[in-house]
Amino acid sequence: MSAKSIHEADGKALLACFLPQSPVYSAIVPAETFKAGLPQLASLTFPDEASVDAVLDRAEATYPWLLTSDARFVAKPDQLIKRRGKSGLLALNKSWAECRQWISQRAARQVEVEGIAGYLRTFLVEPFVPHDQSQEYYINIHSVREGDWILFYHEGGVDVGDVDAKASKLLIPVDIDNEYPSNDAIKQALLSQVPTDQHATLLDFINRLYAVYVDLQFTYLEINPLVVIPTPSGVQVHYLDLAAKIDQTAEFECGPKWAIARSPAALGQTVPASSEKVSVDAGPAMVFPAPFGRELSSEEAYIAELDSKTGASLKLTVLNASGRIWTLVAGGGASVVYADAIASAGYASELANYGEYSGAPNETQTFEYAKTVLDLMTRSDPAACPEGKILFIGGGIANFTQVGSTFKGIIRAFRAYQDKLHSHKVRIFVRRGGPNWQEGLRLIVNAGKELDLNLEAYGPDMHVSGIVPLALLGKKPKGILPFGAGSITTNAGTPLTL
């Protein structure tokens, strides 16, 4: 769990719902004249199994405003893709019929964006806002250790350039209750280059935007362009393009708020969600999409679900399903060390997965995790990889995770995949330390013998990732023998042989 990117549609929904209601920090309560009505965000998802037309038809029922005559729309994929306009993934000022056609040509198809191939699955359609280039601004809020930076620039749009260098900046300190800047200070720091007749509106907007940023625990929020259009009745503010990250660990504090903003009522949907499942909160739980080009496979989703249900940590990312080198590493730090070692040995392209298990998972959880990795590893045709595969079962010296019981889980997975491990010519290298490691290694070495696996195991006298250069480059560290081969680590003795 960490700060994670969210869909543009969700980011906009959060703003639409909470701009008027999040508690503000400025001394003067900002107006909300800029507030528009219910948001018009048609978020369309195209899974493989559904026909594109069916999804589009359903969208017309859910979002009847799509069928307003003469309405003009913007359509774009909503999958954390940067610079969509430059990749031809932006349909501007189109009728709904044109949008339909534009989406149909792209939905559920593979495209390549800036060197990354991926399927387009999620699109966002919203009303087109005609405006002048001079009405575009850039705003960005992001968090650092000392507080939250607000970046503002009086020009916006795709060609805004290096905002880090040229935008006006203001740091809001961590103690916002006592140190929040005055309106004058904000104006001075951020709006010096903006026409004065827009100052009031922008101040109100920035104060409220920041309030939402805090209230909903964003860690990153970029709006580009932010469009401010004077109208006879006041001023309209539109956030045309938005990228955001929110802190997933804050789910216990903000989850209900995130859900309310995504409820059919808040989104003005006429057809309530068809599913009759009772959700915990007022709306569906927040979705954290995988980056473009890395669709969450069912296995990854399964591990993520397992992870969310336990106090232990279970992570799995498939980097290259046809890779030869697979890892089953314990510990957040050690798992990175293993990936590093494999990459620095020159095998980055062969590394199939990144993952880790830690926080004392029990035998069953480890079994489920190991089984998933072994299954992915042995799924392809063995003939495609005649030189065989390598599996690293690694880990540092655990502080409190029971090596014995986690290894029992792995051994159960070995038993289930014994034949496949043979047919894929899998070589297994083990290194582990920590509570009960002698027993753990003894068990896994015995299981290796019993199941006739090509397995070598090492204890804590081997460097944490020493089995990587050993396996990939044939580098044998001096004086270190495999467990059970007569080195000092072989005595499965007491923990306190004093």
Binding site: Q217, F292, S313, G331, V336, A339, P435, N436
Partner: protein, 627 residues
């Protein structure tokens, strides 16, 4: 900085008299700390008490060496702090949800100089608020999302260093010259291992935690190490993500830090992946080129920090730096001290298979320890998948075997037949009266069940015994009836108040029909029916009643099904399995009577006087007259 003990400089977070509180119930971590203290030859434990707001417990039992000691458990920080003014460290084990409020509260007490936050998943905004307030107050925060830290010979934070065997293996019971700071807690143990193998050992080690905003970062601890004359070499284990390594680089460049540093940032592989990968630590994601591990490693190397080619080369690099310092006379290796022994915990020794002890209890029918509950080895999911019913479950738990489905059906039939027999029988009457006295379900049920015995409901056992004995000893049905009459004994299982041969009991007919149809053999039932023939010829209502019929059929089942040996059959009967059937079945009815009375809201029952014949007084009078 410390108000309490000004003899310790600010760079010293822990010393050999450091006292701490553990926030949260963590007996294992607590014991680990006490064991560490003991093995370090500390005079007193480093844990003065436990703070646990949900506690009802006032002391916690711990070991100090082989002896037991009691640690006070406080429900409020205020009480704990006023009772122990010398405590300046808190190890906070509160969960990610409650750690914010508890740490903010702890920060209100100026006596705490150091707070370690163990929880993973603290919201970034809350973590920043904690570190901001702590900085204002001059408090050192270690964590969140960390195992803590260790200072050999002085203090161990929570679970740092792992089990005692690892502490001994990495010589963490005595101070060396190398201080490290690492992001990862797991890797800190690896550093303990590396440092103990390549140098004179660890002087101090801190794991700052894997989150985006650790309370203190590398530079905070490295500045302490620089100031501490006993630290000679600094090891820094950084990671992809964040810019904290650059603050160390700056301090090296401007001459603030002069001690040799050996460093490595892990996560060099990140730049080789096409899409961004969130590693295990929340903070380990590069938001810019500057934050990549590769950039950090080359920047550190350029600043004159010793950075090996790969992490695998770090031990060698460290060893070289160490040997140089030894040659220069900067470090003089000390003679090794003897390690005091710590007894192995019973539970741990048992897990390692080092000891054994006879168990006080044995159970052979069900097991709740594994993946799932099992009945006589049959997992509960199988029980439902195969839909074995209550009869099947009874056969597993009562007889430890899977009986054929006709047998399970028969058991269910018995339960259904015996479930109730109206409100007038003694069991139901007792239950009703108890319920009406306002007692709860269990008391009312038990009051009814207690009437079950030889007279009420006991006919099952009696019938089984008498018929079986007679049959086995070769008595003809008529001889059996005659023998019983000579002994003036009623035959249990024979006779009904109303029912007769011409007015049969339908329950008996149902049992007979089922048994005849399904059981491999019905020898005892046939025998009992022959007995009935004899008795009904004497009196029409001396029929084989439902108890008798169930009893003999049950014996037939055990004897003929092929699932029980003769000895087993006899033993089960002797141990009262038939009574068990009646108790189980009738419980259904007794509970029903209880619920019924409750539903009707009946009041306390008092038996009318006119229904009791009082003769006690008259007897007494008669006695007096006799005198």
């Amino acid at each position: 900085m410390s108000v309490i003990d000004s003899s310790h400089p600010a760079y010293e977070l822990f010393h050999s008299n450091t006292k701490s509180f553990i926030y949260g119930l963590q007996p294992r971590a607590c014991q680990g700390m006490l064991d560490f203290d003991f093995i370090c030859k500390r005079e007193t434990p480093s844990v003065s008490g436990i703070i646990y707001p949900f506690g009802g417990q006032f002391v916690s039992k711990m070991y100090w060496g082989t002896k037991e000691t009691l640690l006070p458990v406080y429900q409020s920080v205020g009480k704990a702090s006023s009772n122990h003014p010398d405590v300046d460290v808190v190890v906070n084990f509160a969960s990610s949800r409650s750690v914010y409020s508890s740490t903010m509260e702890l920060l209100e007490y100026p006596q705490f100089r150091t707070i370690a936050i163990i929880a993973e998943g603290v919201p970034e905004r809350r973590a920043r608020e904690i570190l901001y307030k702590a900085k204002k107050k001059g408090v050192t925060i270690i964590g969140p999302a960390t195992v803590g830290g260790i200072k050999p010979g002085c203090f161990k934070v929570g679970n740092t260093g792992g089990m005692m065997d690892n502490i001994v293996a990495s010589k963490l019971y005595r101070a060396g010259s190398v201080a490290y700071v690492s992001k990862s807690g797991g890797m800190s143990n690896e550093l303990n291992n590396i440092i103990s193998h390549t140098t004179d050992g660890v002087y101090e080690g801190i794991a700052i935690g894997g989150d985006r905003y650790p309370g203190t970062t590398f530079i905070d601890h490295i500045l302490r190490y620089q100031a501490d004359p006993k630290c000679k070499i600094i090891v820094l284990l950084g990671e992809v993500g964040g810019v904290e390594e650059y603050r160390v680089i700056k301090a090296v460049q401007d001459g603030t830090i002069t001690k040799p540093i050996v460093a490595w940032a892990i996560g060099t592989c990140a730049s080789m992946f096409k899409t961004e990968v969130q590693f295990g630590h929340a903070g380990s994601m590069a938001n810019s080129e500057l934050e990549t591990a590769t950039a950090k490693n080359s920047a550190m190397r350029a600043a004159g920090i010793v950075v090996p080619e790969t992490f695998e080369d770090l031990p060698e690099a460290l060893s070289e730096v160490y040997e140089t310092l030894v040659k220069q006379g900067e470090i003089t290796p000390k003679a090794e001290v003897e390690v005091p022994k710590i007894p192995v915990d019973y539970a741990w020794a048992q897990q390692l298979g080092l000891i054994r002890k006879p168990a006080s209890f044995i159970s052979t029918i069900s097991d709740d320890r594994g993946q799932e509950l099992s009945y006589a080895g049959m997992p509960i999911t199988e029980v439902f998948k195969e839909d074995i019913g209550i009869g099947g479950v009874m056969s597993l738990l009562w007889f430890k075997r899977r009986l054929p489905s006709y047998a399970a059906k028969f058991l269910e039939m018995v339960l259904m037949m015996t479930a109730d027999h109206g409100p007038a029988v003694s069991g139901a009457m007792n239950t009703i009266i108890t319920t009406r006295a306002g007692k709860d379900l269990i008391s009312s049920l038990v009051a009814g069940l207690l009437t079950i015995g030889t007279r009420f409901g006991g006919a099952l056992d009696g019938a089984a015994t008498e018929f079986t004995n007679a049959y086995d000893s070769g008595l003809s049905p008529r001889q059996f009836v005659d023998t019983m009459r000579k002994q003036n004994k009623l035959i249990p299982g024979i006779g009904h108040r109303i029912k007769s041969r011409n007015n049969p009991d339908y329950r008996v007919e149902l049992v007979k029909e089922f048994v005849k149809k399904n059981f491999p053999s019905t020898k005892l039932l046939d025998y009992a029916l022959a007995v009935e023939e004899v008795t009904t010829s004497k009196k029409d209502n001396l029929i084989l009643n439902v108890d008798g019929c169930i009893a003999v059929s049950f014996v037939d089942l055990m004897r003929s099904s092929g699932y029980f040996t003769a000895e087993e059959t006899e033993e089960y009967l002797k141990n009262g399995v038939l009574n068990g059937l009646f108790v189980l079945g009738r419980s259904i009815g007794l509970i029903a009577h209880h619920l019924d009375q409750k539903r009707l809201k009946t009041s306390l029952y008092r038996h009318p006087w006119d229904d009791i014949t009082y003769i006690v007084g008259q007897e007494g009078l008669a006695n007096q007259e006799q005198k």
